[in-house]
Symmetry: C2
Amino acid sequence: MDTGSVRAVNLSRVLAAALAQEEPPTRADLAAATSTTRATATRLVDELVAHGVLVEAAPDAERPRRPGRPGIPLQPGTRHVALGLQVEVSHLTAVVVDLAGTVRARRRVEDDLRGSDAEPVLARLGALAEHVLSDLPSGTVVVGTGLAVPGLVAEGGMLLRAPNLGWSDVAVAALFPPPAGTGPPTVGNEADLAAVTVSSTAPGRPGAHPDFLYLSGATGIGGSIVLDGHPLTGRHGWAGEVGHVTVDPDGPPCACGSTGCLEQYAGSRALASAAGLDPSAGTSAIAAAARSGEPAAIAAVERAGTALGVALAVVVNVLDVPVIVLGGHLREIGELVRPVLEDTLARRVLSAGWVAPRVEVAPAHATAALGAAYTELHRLVTDPRPWLTGPVTSREAR
Amino acid sequence: MDTGSVRAVNLSRVLAAALAQEEPPTRADLAAATSTTRATATRLVDELVAHGVLVEAAPDAERPRRPGRPGIPLQPGTRHVALGLQVEVSHLTAVVVDLAGTVRARRRVEDDLRGSDAEPVLARLGALAEHVLSDLPSGTVVVGTGLAVPGLVAEGGMLLRAPNLGWSDVAVAALFPPPAGTGPPTVGNEADLAAVTVSSTAPGRPGAHPDFLYLSGATGIGGSIVLDGHPLTGRHGWAGEVGHVTVDPDGPPCACGSTGCLEQYAGSRALASAAGLDPSAGTSAIAAAARSGEPAAIAAVERAGTALGVALAVVVNVLDVPVIVLGGHLREIGELVRPVLEDTLARRVLSAGWVAPRVEVAPAHATAALGAAYTELHRLVTDPRPWLTGPVTSREAR
DNA sequence: GTCATAAGTTTTGGGTCGAAACAAACTCTG
DNA sequence: CAGAGTTTGTTTCGACCCAAAACTTATGAC
């Protein structure tokens, strides 16, 4: 580590502190937050401002007046954006998000991609990406592209297996045609990336919980374990496969080869079958049926909640994760399963006496496409230097 | 981060590189390993040598001769040691280990501590610690004390619950009387600390696997999840409770309040009962009976292996951990359960087709006391600066 | 004995931060 | 409305650390 990397670290710390604040901070605030001097904070902020990563805002008239020279509020710039893409069984999505967390463009195409061919789908996703990028002001910098897929992802953007798409061993990163001016995408698991939108409410801004288990998915159930704000991907990238936790070794057989997997109780198709509906009935239909008092639907939801409790108790026992966030199709039945789920957890979690695990329903904006964009923007926060090399942006005299 | 912490980081990196090498490295080797210049490596090494953290060894006569000035081999010093302590149900242990990994003193007292009082036990452990420290040469620096206990440990050295000792809510760190010249101990979970001896073969020297699941225990079954060489302790410090993973929701009741926990199949008492022996019969007796063809013992081992497979498959699915290390009393039946365990894992682990999880038996030296000492020594490696403040040790003219 | 080679050391220069003094911009008070 | 008080932002200076490069030392090869 040389003296130059001190600069890199401090730039990152100042930028992270700036993004983490709720109110736009001043240079002095950032000096305090990063425990450096105002002199150093000024030097670092000036470099970030010069390249548009941060911008100086007009003083807030609403702010209570205090003695002393008023500080200059600093806000995330809108010059740097990231592209977030998602392939789901039922749709393709592309979003453009800037460093402030504003969704600058969004486009979603509904489709049935079960058993589809990867190459044409990725070509269409490329066109979608091209489209959402087309309307950005000149000078905008795309810091990266994140691509979420519902399956096991290995190093180098290889999708090993996406059962519900019917894809296996697809070199997603290589097959995706990147829009002009952007590089190859970073491919990630859908659940991991959706979880990012819970651990961060905006790029670099921490969410309510640093540690939680996020559940996602539709037909299958994916999961992501977030510790200290970072998804745990595991040695080979396929950690978090909560859908195949054994609920009952004597339970129904699962496509994965095992028996009694959680997916066979709480997956959307299993849920619909148990409720006496067509397997392709959406989870919202089941929730509606249960709310209207349909006994079969109520029983199915109850059964799913108990299975979730058994499976998640295992995860909580093993990982000591205090919060469970229900996302994906489980959002629909979240409030319905919560009582039986919390009850089961309280009985089966060893440490429930000290700290009972909490169950929450994911916010509506929790999508993997957004999380993929956040993740790319977070790379800029981790090391801003690559984006501070260009010409200094014009800046009116003060 | 100021310019001075660059020094701290580089000292740590050089020391870590020096300890990680198999053969004693030279200054030039360390420069290459840490990708700095020889000039910088020299400055850093000189500081470490001046305080006895590293020592210059005599040139190795065995080494193949090469052109060029021969380098000076650098070895870990013996001046800095750590104290490793362990309270187990059946014994108390104290070891003193130096930075080279040499056990400088060891003492173990057998006892039955089930249902014991914490305070007198810790007093006796303090006396044991005093004893193992008594014979060290003057000038030896004790960098820290680690204390392993078989239970849930929270912040600040509080033991929340150790079911087999019968202790609960014991302020272990505060009650332990530290030997003269040492500070209060760092209290840790027995499984986590035993796992350290697998992830490091000596202080700072990485072991064979960076990621693995370590199983430990006796009556109960403890576990530790090691990712990237570090045990995962979880939000509140009680991650890794593999003993209470549900194997079968309809299984026998467990003392923890749940049913069908792994402990009820593979704990030493459960194992003995299933084999038709007295519950207090040691696991080695069961292993011996099984090896001699006793059908009940064979069945009990088989049952334990299957239960382990079901439970560990869950953990592997959720965490993507490629290696399982059987420690504690499971070492005794390790080779016996391996076939059925590996078979069960292959069937129940989702990713077994790509990478089948491996099962290993822990080495004989894998004790929590040793791991506790390693952990303390590792603090010196992480930040050597606090131990570089004293007077410079004498050093003959060269 | 001389040359080639590699390790270790010394010197020099550039980059970064902290401390402290200073300049700027505002509120408060009489 | 002027001056004191206060806080922010800037400038200057000094200290620290590393990289680069030249230099010294110690060995093997011929």
